[in-house]
Symmetry: C2
């Protein structure tokens, strides 16, 4: 018998991704979001959901672009800070000492020290209530060479992304290898 917890945004796990945008006079900003994910394969799209009160919401509307930088667990302190403070009040790159790099494809900066980056062109802004969902077309994925697998994909045990747990408000790292996808379940088939 399961216990009812009510109508809440409680699900596990959620990502810890940093949204990079430009503001007035080209001021770079970074904000951490957990309400984010992949939402289409063709065209390749992600989204981030943001409150209208945030600077990032305004910046995306004005520049029609954003990046997602995936922090490694060693930068969890900086990632948490990016979600705590508004870019209206502090220059978050200056404060953390992290480096904004201008994307060569979209009008947004990414975090150089984070190993995996997506550059996104705004496709749609969907009003859902408190949050606007910004669907972005992925125009490129960039990664540090030292986090790539032999096949050229980002290796999760090298990227070491964090996950966030709404409710308990905790960050955790990535754990042990469990199985190969599209493989472990195949002997249940047919």
């Amino acid at each position: 018998m399961k216990k009812s917890l009510g109508a809440k945004t409680i699900i596990l796990p959620t990502p810890v991704w940093v949204i990079g945008t430009y503001g007035n006079a080209g001021k770079p900003n970074a904000m951490t979001a957990a309400w984010s994910g992949v939402c289409c394969s063709k065209p390749p799209c992600v989204y981030v959901s943001l409150r209208e009160a945030t600077l990032t919401h305004k910046n995306i509307k004005e520049h029609q672009a954003y990046t997602i930088s995936v922090p490694s667990e060693r930068h969890i302190k900086e990632a948490d800070y990016f979600g705590l403070v508004s870019g209206e009040r502090e220059n978050k790159f200056t404060k953390t000492g992290l480096t904004p790099v201008k994307s060569n494809l979209v009008d947004a900066p990414y975090v150089d020290e984070f190993p995996l980056v997506l550059e996104c062109r705004l496709l749609k802004a969907i009003e859902l209530g408190l949050h606007t969902q910004f669907v972005g077309e992925i125009v490129d994925v960039k990664a540090d060479e030292d986090v790539l697998s032999d096949e050229g994909y980002p290796d999760i045990l090298k990227v070491k992304p964090a996950v966030y747990s709404p409710g308990t408000r905790e960050y955790h790292g990535i754990g042990k290898f469990l199985a190969k996808g599209f493989e472990i379940g195949s002997n249940l088939k047919g």
Copy 2:
């Protein structure tokens, strides 16, 4: 200098969540999705993005509802199988021996053996390209009592959800506690 990987849906981590729906004659179906996440806090909403070719896409359109059941790592084999086979061809609950439970709130079944469940009423279906994004309002969250923290929230180290790595196509478990959210970053403030 980061290496360009191209315009691909490669980001880390993505969730491993099982979407429960009813089909013709009340036949329960389960499908695993990684293109899913939280997209609004008020009303509380999640989404799942699905190809039109899937049975789950058809079922959600017809029943205007779905559930998300979060498998523990011990059910990774069943979760992988749910993503490998169409419910048009096999009864996936019969095949796995897992138990569909009819939600008391929406017209969709969840997986009884999975510790955390969201019941969702379809709010919007947004065509993005290959995938339709089904935004669902969370009408309840249900969890097994033995995975709850002292404060009554699902504890990620008890739920033991998996994460999926697109590209390398691997499942991993949850790793060590890193930090408290909205706390570890606060000494960078001001």
